[in-house]
Every structure is written in structure tokens, then in C-alpha cells.
């Protein structure tokens, strides 16, 4: 009997039309990129084992686990706080394999883990008008003094829970924000973001 091909399909496959959108004049004010190629594991410390969880994280990735709303950038992974005593492990490269498996032994009895690689869609936002765009759907204060590089938040967009963090500045020097949204909401939220960015001119795309 035939083997089947398993073609992965992003929740935004239908929505993202790469290229310029909104106002056409001048350089794009906002760059919106769907990041498709990532693995995401949610690590939740068992009751009373945060210290051990952080120690294992340090051993595995050589960085401090975020003990709060922060993003910590390592060589291979970014750790993003997702709640008390828990964080996301974000790494490049998706595969059919369960990304929890390689971590199971290290965290056995210390932390619970769940694969969220398909549960979230990742959108990165940058450009000179990125904050004006975010202001239309995000209630947080993103001023440099309040939300610097490495700041993270569990917040909501259009009544849907999202994780937002600020990564090192984009190439052009503008702030760069990453957004993890629930997969099923991705289409709606992408629409909201692109509408919000339209008046500034947006460059849309995805990174495989």
C-alpha cells in the first residue's frame, strides 16, 4: 500500500501574501514576518522544583531560565517566560519528531513538558512604525524604559492570549517584537495586524 506524503501547512498559508501591503508610498513602516520553522516546548516546573528546573536549563542551554516575564537569548534557543515557574523553549527548525522527547530525561521528575510547536503561530514585527502598529491591538506600554530588549509578557490581543517579547533590534535599528498566538486565532490576528499596519505601509512575508 502507498506511503503518504505529509506536507506541513502553516495556519497562515492562506493569509500571508508576501510583498507590500497598505500604503505604497515610501519605505515600508512595518515589516511583518511569519516564522514557520520553529519548535516550541512549554516547560512547567513541578511543584517546588523551580530551582532544579532552572539548573537543568542552565546545563542544557548555558543560560538562565527566565524567572519572570523575560526572554533570555541563548546560542540555540530562546527561553521566554510564560507564567509563574514556566517558560517556552523556542528553537529553530521544526520536524515531525516530538521535540519533548530529547528533553524528557533531563527534566524527568523536575518539570512537565508539552509540545506547543503546532499550538502557536509565530509572527515577528519590526520597522520604524512598529510601535504605532502594536498600539492598535496591544494594551502594553512598549516604551524603551518599560519594555526593553529581553522583556516579555503574557498578554492578550483581541481577547486571545498571546506571548510577546522584544528581541534584539532589527537590522535597520528598529525594535523587533515577536508574538506567539494560538494557531486557531492566527488568521484573525494576522488580519488585525495587517489592517493596523496598513496606513504605514507594510512589508509582509514568511520565513520558512
Amino acid at each position: 500500500m502507498a506511503e503518504f506524503a505529509w506536507k506541513s501547512r502553516s495556519p497562515l498559508a492562506h493569509a500571508v501574501e508576501p510583498g507590500r501591503a497598505g500604503a505604497r508610498a515610501g519605505a515600508a513602516g512595518v515589516t511583518l514576518t511569519e516564522i514557520r520553522d520553529f519548535a516550541l516546548v512549554q516547560v512547567m516546573a513541578r511543584r517546588g522544583t523551580w530551582a532544579e528546573t532552572a539548573r537543568v536549563a542552565q546545563q542544557l542551554w548555558g543560560i538562565d531560565a527566565p524567572g519572570g516575564p523575560k526572554a533570555v537569548f541563548g546560542q540555540d534557543v530562546t527561553l521566554v517566560g510564560s507564567g509563574p515557574d514556566q517558560f517556552f523553549v523556542l528553537s529553530k527548525g521544526s520536524s515531525v519528531q516530538d521535540p519533548v522527547e530529547p528533553l524528557k530525561q533531563a527534566f524527568a521528575g523536575i518539570a512537565s513538558m508539552t509540545d506547543q510547536s503546532d499550538g502557536r503561530c509565530m509572527i515577528s514585527l519590526s520597522g520604524p512604525r512598529v510601535r504605532d502598529t502594536l498600539a492598535k491591538f496591544c494594551s502594553l506600554d512598549l516604551h524603551d524604559s518599560v519594555f526593553p530588549v529581553g522583556a516579555a509578557a503574557a498578554t492578550s490581543v483581541d481577547h486571545s492570549a498571546v506571548t510577546l517579547w522584544r528581541a534584539p533590534n532589527a537590522d535597520g535599528g528598529s525594535p523587533l517584537y515577536n508574538l506567539l498566538v494560538f494557531t486557531s486565532f492566527a488568521d484573525s490576528i494576522w488580519h488585525l495586524i495587517t489592517e493596523s499596519a496598513a496606513e504605514y505601509g507594510a512589508e509582509l512575508g514568511y520565513a520558512a
Partner: protein
């Protein structure tokens, strides 16, 4: 700048500027030849009631109408009295117009707030057939019967006329302008912004505050309702730091714009104060152009979150209440100054001024400087120092009051003055400027129920207890002198910045000489003819007095009985006069009489701005399953299930009716194999050492003894013993369960479980996370399910009854190397599996199932077919788990464990929840097999008279059963389980009428459950 008008003289505009403006200027009979903050190089054409006119960039519609000599602009609400422009600001009650045409038509737009643009079209309201000849003005003749409480007195009887006659008639008469009735073609946005110090208003006090806070290093937002910064400085000028105020204004704005953390928001009105330092503000982004540029919103609704707020929203000048005070051409004295100085438009050539305070006298100077004639100044007070200014120029100064105004639709022609001790006098005039004093804008200070406090020396209310973190400064605080405004603003700005930790130098405050403000209150000049208190709603002084005589003495009663203060200006002009007249009539002080409660918005806000982008199909977010686009390609019909879009059925060529499609899908499953996307069911990872204990406490049945690799149906109750939700939960490992919920309750159950984990039992080692969106899951059902599965699952997997028994769960590999999780659970009553893959492969799974199943006639089915099959099997769902039913009502009482405690156990034992006559789930089969059952129909004993005493339950779920070939249903019926076989009447007065049906077991199909275990 204001000072630039000093040399201005009233004459026709010099038409030589350009060819275009030559004809443009012709209509502007009342334009002053120089000065003003208008751009004479940019003439703009507009129409009012179809008549072509012109103005200049920088005009408002109101100032352009003044420049064009227009006096009559609207009709009042009740009496249809002719009305003119009264103010130059947001408080305008009379000059409301319909702006723009077609779908963009905006009724009740204040001409004083509408910036003029080329091609503007404005139409007057509330008149027929024309503004000059309004048939409904006959109402004015009947005014003796249209008094306060007219509705309550007139439409009381006969009661039966209310619905047929009175209400429709009142609705036709109500309102001023008419909405377009078409969808708004523009879009609206919402946005958030944050700051240390919010400054509301950009007059001298606000600018001074923003400068101080900004220099100190605070993050400042300055909101100004107007298109230009400056507040009263734009109209009144004056001297600051020894130079014209306009110089300081220009420097202040430039400095603010140079500060990186200062944001100036023009055309932005702050309308509300909410909790936690949150302010509502409306930015009119593109109201000043005919059509917003592409991709730009018309308006943007801001939520501003501020640590400190400095409200410098100024004050509103108060009208005087005297007979004829509503004639077109009677205008607020400060508005006259604004039109003259800011807009270079003269409201009248022969102006009389009626004032009870010093500020009104400033208008005398303004008119003179502009070349107008002041025919008289009427001031009831003993002569004060201020008189010198006008006296020196030889004005006719009279100590007295105005007792009448002559004129009609074309405006004022003269005023009648009662001179103290010297009889009455008639004075010819074409404009009457009036000033009754100033009411500080205390609205924002009062939205947290702080009551304003009366101050006798200025005869006005000043702010009482402000919301936390807010101060009022300048005239909003009752300080009317320019010097104090500058100083108080600076001090407030400095302090607010320091409170936020910004401690750089705030510099020094600008200075100006203080002018003392003096007033003698004058609340009501009695005389023949109507004296208006609330202009738009036609509430007169006599209405207030009538309300008092009829016992409506409380200000809240006064408001509702007379509609005083309920017009679009929300009492900004009328409230203080109204309650002062009430105070006089009742012999109480104004302070004891008090004010009505203040509520936002401070200025009208369109509903569209609140809705923002959430309109039409984007009213709320839509959740899509991973197979959504595959289903859409197949032409699936989608149904909204909460936020989700679910495929309801998949019509195929030749099908014309949903029932045809659904019946085909059911038969395909029952006779072959089908699959349905069930990804929308809530899925929650429950992990930790105590996961089993945790589940035992939230479910009525036990999960700690569930074997690894097994699934079990569970039911959870609310604290009150009523069923909350159901679903299957699988044990994946010793310390790992996967719990499922219904689609509708996924969110609430997650919240409930988090509450249990964090609050009720923090001692348990449990971790929860939603994995609903991680998995794309399909139910595969029907006798050929195994054939299909064998075609897609790796051949090494044992799918036999022994290798994969009913309620088994395990990870499997699919052909081609895909990882999947397989559950042997059934909702349809057929042999069935659910198969889950990571969401990004859901689309591929649907497509591959179609290929793998082709030899077996695989059929995708939707939620309708799913519903039909669950009703045939008597499985309860949302309509039965409806927040009123217990486990026993649903026939699941035996699941309630007696060996453990769980949420809802105790309360479920209450008498009423265990009563024998409760309505319980039964099946229903119409006696006439062709008859259709309807959801929501009531169940009464056969032949009984329908009514509350005979009502025994209702139909919850219905379907046409392809297996039974008739309509069947589930119902909640009193003592239903004892009544199987009984014939009852199904009472449906709204639709099909009554039919007879037999009460049956809820399980219509395969009651032994042989098929699903096969």
C-alpha cells in the same frame, strides 16, 4: 494671532488675492479684512442647505457661516424655534447640522467643531420644508401644552393607543438629524498609549503644565480637542512674559515638539476617566477632510494610561436667562471674541453686550478693534473699574437687564433694556453678546462620583474630590486669570513629573499680569416671552418653575421631568442656570440644591469608534481548524460554534437541501465510513505527580485508577451540583493525562481547573496547559473504519479488537512516517477512532484520509450529521448540559462516586436537585411518523390545556433520523424515566402547532451498543 487683529477693520475681503478667491470672497460679507488665524490664500467652497458659500482654511463651518452673514442655522427640538450659532466650541447646542452626504452622512454634527474643507456639504436639521419656513414651528403656538412632563401627562391614556399611535408618533418626532441608514464606508480604530503625565487641554494652563513636566523629563501626553493648540489664547491673546501671547504660544509649542517624550495629540478630546488611571479619548483623525486617505481611519479611540493627570479643560461661558435669549444673533460673548479674533468674522455690525461679569467687557474691546460698533453694554451691576475701557470709547453703558429681543428668522433686530430706575429702552442691534459668567469644566473630575463644590466669589462650581492622581488647573479649577493659569499649570506639571520620578529642571513659569474676575450672579430676568435654559431641548425657566410646583425639586428629578441637560451638550450650558433657578424657587442655596451625577462621555463619541475594527465579519475573532481551507475547497457550509468556524455539512453536486446532505452523510457513516473534524474540542494536558488525585476531585467519577493507554468518559459538576461539562480523558503516562472538553466549554473549564489548582488545592503537584490548538483531530466512524485506518496507519500497528480495544489510546505511526495519537472512542455509536496529528499536518491528514478511504467510499461529515448520530444514540450534549441539569437528570447519576469527594458532590444532594419530579432526559417519537419535532416546544399531558400548571418539560434536541426514517428528539420531561411509552402533547404555539409524541428511551439506535465495540 489674536494681537494681529488689532489693526483689522470690517469691510469686504480684498478680492485681489487670486482669481478664484475673488468670487470666493464675495459671499463673505462679514469677514474682517485682515487678521485671524485663517489662511486667506486658501479659499474653500462649501454649501449650506444647497447654497454655495466660501470660507478659508482655518475656518470652522460655524466661523465660515458667520463670515457669510448666516444667522439662522437650525431649529430647536420641541418648538422648532429658529436658532443661530450660540457658541464657538464643543458645547454648541443649536448649530447642529447633517454633514456630508450618502453613506457618510453624519447627523447632529456641531458646526463649531467641524473644520471647513473644500466641498463640504452641510444641511440643516429638524425642519420641513425648509429652514426658513418650518411647518412644525406651529408647535411653538401650542407651547402652553408642550410643557415639562408633557409626555407623562399626555400619553398616559388610553393605554391601548401607546403601541399603535403614541410611540410611533413620538419616534418620528424624536431626534434632530437622520442617520444615513447605510453601512459606514470609513473605518475606525482603537489604540492604547501610556504616559507619566496626561495633560488635558492646551490653553495657557495646560501648555504650562506640559512644558514643566516635559522639561523635567516625564513622559507627557498633551490632548487638545481643537485642531490648534492655545485654548483661549487663540481668541483672547494678551501678554505673556511682556510680549504678545502668540509669541509665547509659538515658542511653547516648538519646545514641546522638540521634547522626545512629549506627545501632542490634536483633535483629540478626552471624554472619560476609568479605573487605574485609564482615560478615554477620541482622535478625529480625518474628520477635517471629505474622505480619509486610503488606509487611514476616520477616527481613533484611545485608551490613555497615565500615572498622573492634569486637567486644564478650561471653562464654558454661561448664558443669561432672559426673554428672547434664543433668537438667532444672540451669542455667547466669548464666542463673539473667538469669531472676531481667531476667525476674523464679525457676528454683527451693531453689537449689544449684556454681561453680569468683567469678562463680558473684553468682548466690547474685541468688537471695537475689529471695526464693529458696540451699540450698548448692559450690565446690572454697580459700575466697576472695568467700565473705564468701554466708557472711554463712548459706548452706551446701561445699568440694567435685557428684557426682550426683537427679530425673527433673520436674527436680532433690537433689544429691549430695562434700565435700573430709568424705565425701558429699545436699542437697535443685529447681535447680542451675552455673558452670565463661566462654568469650569469639572466633568472629568466628577466621573468617579466626586461632587463639585460651589464657590460664591465666582458664582460657579469648582472641582471637588478628584479621581486618584488627577488635579485640575486654570479656569477648569475656577482660576480665570492668565497669570494664575500659567503659574498653576507650571506647578502642577512640576509636581506630577516629580511624582513619576522625573526630577530634571522644569524651568521657570511664564508670567502674565493678573486680571481680577468679578461677577454678580443673575439667574433669571423675568418678563414676557420664553427665557430658555436648555436651548436644544427647549427647556425654559417656566418649565423649571413648573417642575418645582409639581414637586420635582431634586435636580435628578428636574433633569428627567423637563429633559434639562439631556441634549447633546449634556447640560454644559444649561445645568447651572437650571439648578440656580430651582434653588431660587425653593429657597435653598445652590450648594444645597447640588448637581446631577456626571457621567462620561464628556463629548459625544460615535458608536463606530467604540466598535473600531470589530464590525461585520470581524465583529469577533474567528478560530479556524487546520482543515478549514480543505473543507472550504470542498464547498463546506460553516457554522459558528463559539468563535470557531466548523464544517456543518459538505454539499455535493445535485443536493439542494441541507437535509439531503446531512442524511447522505449519516447513512455513509452508518453503512461505510466517514470522518469529521473534532479539533475544536478542548484539550488540556494535565501533568504532575498528583494529576490523578486532581482529576478525581474535579470529576464525579474516578480517574486515578485509569490504566495507562486508556480513556474514560468523565462528567464534572459546578460547585452548586449542576453539570458543568463532559468529555473523555486519557491517561498517557503515570503522571500525564489528556483531558477533553466540549467545544463551547473549553475556555471556562480551563479557567475552572486553573482556579482549582491555584486556589483550592495549591498543595497538589499539577501542571495544566491547553493543547487544543496543538492537535488536529478527526473522528473516523462507521463499520469500515478499520479498513480505512489500515490504509493509512503503519502496517505494524495492531488495530484489532484485542490489539486496540474500545477506549484504548496510544501513539502510532502513519504511513510515510507521521506521528499520530489514536483513541478508540465513539460519539456516533459506530466503531470509531479519533486520530490526532500535530496541527500543521491536519490539512494533509484530511487529504490523505480522502485518498486512503476512496476504495471504501469515505465521506467527510459535518457537525449536523454528528448531531444526528448522537441524538440517535441518546448522547447528551450542549442542549442537555444547559446549566439546569444534574448528572441524574442526564441519566448519569450512577457515575457519581460514593468513595471520594469531588466538586459539586454536597450541593448535588440538595432536596430540589434530587426531587423525584425533576425533568430528566427522555427520547421523543412523534406518533405521526411524518410529523416534525421542533426544539423548544413544550411537553404537556396528552390533551391538557397548555399553561404553567400543565407544563412538564421541553424539547432540547431534534433531528430527522435517517435510521428511523422519522423525526426524533431528546427532551427534559418531569418523571420522564417512569413514563416511557406514554403519549404526550408537544405544544408549539409559535411554529407548527401541537402534535402527539411518545416518550421513549433516549437511545433510539443500537441500544446494546454492539456496533461501537465491533
Amino acid at each position: 494671532m489674536a494681537d494681529a487683529v488689532h489693526s483689522g477693520r470690517l469691510e469686504r475681503v480684498d478680492a485681489s488675492a487670486s482669481g478664484a478667491s475673488a468670487s470666493a470672497a464675495a459671499s463673505q460679507t462679514h469677514r474682517i479684512s485682515s487678521g485671524g488665524l485663517i489662511d486667506r490664500t486658501k479659499p474653500l467652497s462649501f454649501t449650506f442647505d444647497g447654497k454655495a458659500m466660501t470660507g478659508f482654511a482655518g475656518d470652522t463651518l460655524a466661523s465660515a457661516l458667520v463670515a457669510n452673514g448666516v444667522k439662522l442655522v437650525g431649529r430647536s427640538f420641541k418648538y422648532h424655534r429658529p436658532r443661530g450659532i450660540l457658541t464657538a466650541g464643543a458645547e454648541e447646542p443649536n448649530a447642529l447640522v447633517e454633514l456630508r452626504g450618502g453613506a457618510r452622512r453624519e447627523p447632529n454634527t456641531r458646526a463649531t467643531m467641524a473644520e471647513l474643507y473644500d466641498g463640504l456639504e452641510a444641511v440643516s436639521q429638524n425642519r420641513w420644508p425648509s429652514l426658513r419656513h418650518d411647518f412644525m414651528a406651529v408647535n411653538s403656538l401650542a407651547s402652553p401644552i408642550f410643557v415639562a412632563g408633557f409626555y407623562y401627562k399626555t400619553f398616559m391614556w388610553p393605554a391601548k393607543l401607546w403601541e399603535k399611535l403614541y410611540e410611533p408618533a413620538i419616534r418620528r418626532a424624536a431626534g434632530l438629524g437622520k442617520a444615513s441608514g447605510a453601512p459606514d464606508p470609513d473605518h475606525y480604530e482603537r489604540a492604547w498609549t501610556h504616559c507619566d503625565v496626561l495633560v488635558v487641554g492646551s490653553g495657557p494652563a495646560g501648555l504650562s503644565a506640559a512644558l514643566a513636566a516635559g522639561r523635567a523629563g516625564a513622559r507627557v501626553i498633551l490632548c487638545e480637542e481643537d485642531s490648534a493648540l492655545g485654548g483661549r489664547l487663540l481668541a483672547d491673546g494678551g501678554e505673556i512674559d511682556g510680549a504678545p501671547a502668540s509669541d509665547w504660544l509659538a515658542r511653547a509649542v516648538a519646545e514641546l515638539e522638540s521634547l522626545p517624550d512629549v506627545r501632542i495629540m490634536r483633535r483629540t478630546v478626552t471624554f472619560g476617566v476609568y479605573d487605574g488611571g485609564t482615560f478615554g479619548a477620541l482622535e478625529r483623525v480625518n474628520d477635517n477632510v471629505p474622505v480619509p486617505p486610503e488606509h487611514q481611519p476616520r477616527q481613533r479611540l484611545w485608551r490613555i494610561i497615565a500615572k498622573r493627570a492634569i486637567v486644564a479643560a478650561g471653562a464654558h461661558e454661561r448664558p443669561l436667562v432672559f426673554p428672547g435669549n434664543d433668537r438667532p444673533g444672540v451669542m455667547m460673548a466669548s464666542a463673539v471674541r473667538t469669531y472676531v479674533n481667531r476667525f476674523a468674522a464679525l457676528p454683527g455690525r451693531r453689537v449689544a453686550v449684556f454681561t453680569n461679569n468683567d469678562d463680558g467687557w473684553r468682548t466690547v474691546e474685541a468688537i471695537r478693534r475689529a471695526g464693529g460698533e458696540v451699540v450698548a453694554v448692559i450690565d446690572p451691576r454697580e459700575p466697576t473699574a472695568i467700565r473705564g475701557r468701554a466708557g472711554g470709547a463712548g459706548a452706551n453703558v446701561l445699568r440694567g437687564v435685557v428684557t426682550g429681543v426683537k427679530g425673527g428668522v433673520d436674527g436680532v433686530s433690537g433689544v429691549q433694556v430695562s434700565v435700573a430706575g430709568d424705565g425701558t429702552r429699545e436699542i437697535a442691534a443685529d447681535c447680542l453678546a451675552m455673558s452670565g459668567g463661566w462654568n469650569p469644566s469639572v466633568g472629568l473630575s466628577s466621573y468617579h462620583r466626586g461632587r463639585p463644590v460651589w464657590r460664591d466669589d465666582i458664582a460657579a462650581f469648582v472641582p471637588g474630590q478628584c479621581p486618584p492622581g488627577m488635579v485640575l488647573v486654570g479656569s477648569a479649577n475656577g482660576d480665570f486669570s492668565l497669570g494664575i493659569c500659567l503659574e498653576a499649570g507650571h506647578e502642577a506639571g512640576t509636581r506630577a513629573a516629580a511624582d513619576c520620578g522625573a526630577s530634571a529642571s522644569a524651568g521657570r513659569a511664564a508670567t502674565a499680569t493678573d486680571e481680577k474676575f468679578s461677577i454678580h450672579p443673575l439667574w433669571h430676568v423675568k418678563g414676557k416671552g420664553k427665557s430658555f435654559v436648555d436651548f436644544q431641548h427647549d427647556v425654559s425657566a417656566s418649565d423649571v418653575l413648573l417642575a418645582q410646583r409639581e414637586g420635582f425639586e431634586s435636580v435628578e428629578h428636574l433633569k428627567r421631568y423637563t429633559t434639562l441637560g439631556m441634549a447633546t451638550d449634556q447640560g454644559k450650558l444649561s445645568n447651572v442656570n437650571g439648578l440656580a433657578i430651582m434653588a431660587e424657587a425653593t429657597g435653598r442655596s445652590i450648594s444645597d440644591t447640588g448637581t446631577t451625577i456626571y457621567r462620561p462621555p464628556a463629548s459625544p463619541v460615535a458608536i463606530g469608534a467604540f466598535a473600531g475594527p470589530n464590525r461585520d465579519e470581524h465583529f469577533h475573532a474567528a478560530r479556524l481548524t487546520p482543515s478549514h481551507h480543505w473543507a472550504a475547497e470542498r464547498g463546506a457550509v460553516f457554522v459558528d460554534t463559539g468563535l470557531w468556524k466548523r464544517a456543518q455539512w459538505y454539499p455535493i453536486a445535485g443536493e439542494t437541501d441541507w437535509l439531503q446532505s446531512v442524511t447522505r452523510e449519516v447513512l455513509a457513516v452508518r453503512n461505510g465510513v466517514g470522518f469529521c473534524d473534532v479539533s475544536t474540542l478542548g484539550k488540556i494536558d494535565v501533568q504532575g505527580k498528583d494529576a490523578g488525585t486532581f482529576l478525581d476531585r474535579v470529576y464525579i467519577n474516578t480517574f486515578s485508577n485509569l490504566g495507562i493507554g486508556k480513556a474514560r468518559y468523565g462528567l464534572m459538576l459546578r460547585e452548586d451540583g449542576i453539570v458543568m461539562d463532559d468529555g473523555t480523558t486519557s491517561r498517557l503516562a503515570e503522571d500525564h493525562y489528556l483531558l477533553t472538553t466540549t467545544t463551547a466549554k473549553a475556555g471556562p473549564v480551563m479557567q475552572h481547573l486553573e482556579f482549582c489548582r491555584q486556589v483550592l488545592w495549591p498543595e497538589l503537584d499539577v501542571q495544566l496547559t491547553s493543547v487544543t490548538d496543538q492537535w488536529s483531530q478527526f473522528s473516523i466512524a462507521g463499520p469500515k473504519t478499520r479498513d480505512l485506518l489500515k490504509a493509512i496507519v503503519d502496517p505494524s500497528e495492531d488495530l484489532s479488537n484485542e490489539g486496540f480495544p474500545f477506549m484504548g489510546v496510544r501513539d502510532v505511526t502513519l504511513r510515510g512516517g507521521m506521528r499520530a495519537r489514536l483513541y478508540r472512542i465513539s460519539f456516533s455509536g459506530e466503531i470509531a477512532f479519533e486520530i490526532g496529528v500535530p496541527a500543521r499536518y491536519g490539512d494533509a491528514l484530511a487529504r490523505n484520509l480522502m485518498v486512503a478511504g476512496e476504495p471504501f467510499g469515505v465521506t467527510p461529515y459535518g457537525t449536523e450529521a454528528l448531531g444526528v448520530m448522537r441524538i440517535e444514540k441518546g448522547h447528551v450534549a450542549g442542549p442537555e448540559l444547559n446549566g439546569t441539569t444534574t448528572a441524574a437528570d442526564l441519566g448519569l447519576g450512577k457515575m457519581m462516586s460514593k468513595k471520594k469527594d469531588y466538586i459539586g458532590r454536597v450541593m448535588a444532594g440538595r432536596e430540589a436537585l434530587t426531587a423525584l419530579n425533576r425533568q430528566v432526559v427522555v427520547g421523543l417519537k412523534p406518533v405521526d411518523t411524518a410529523a416534525r419535532l421542533r426544539g423548544g416546544a413544550h411537553i404537556i399531558p396528552k390533551g391538557a390545556v397548555p399553561g404553567p400548571t400543565t407544563d412538564q418539560g421541553y424539547v432540547t434536541s431534534v433531528c430527522y433520523s435517517p435510521m428511523l426514517k422519522q423525526w426524533i428528539g431528546l427532551a427534559l420531561v418531569e418523571r420522564g424515566r417512569e413514563r416511557h411509552g406514554e403519549i404526550v402533547t408537544i405544544h408549539d404555539p409559535l411554529r407548527a402547532g401541537d402534535i402527539l409524541a411518545e416518550i421513549t428511551s433516549p437511545v433510539f439506535y443500537d441500544p446494546e451498543g454492539v456496533r461501537q465495540r465491533g
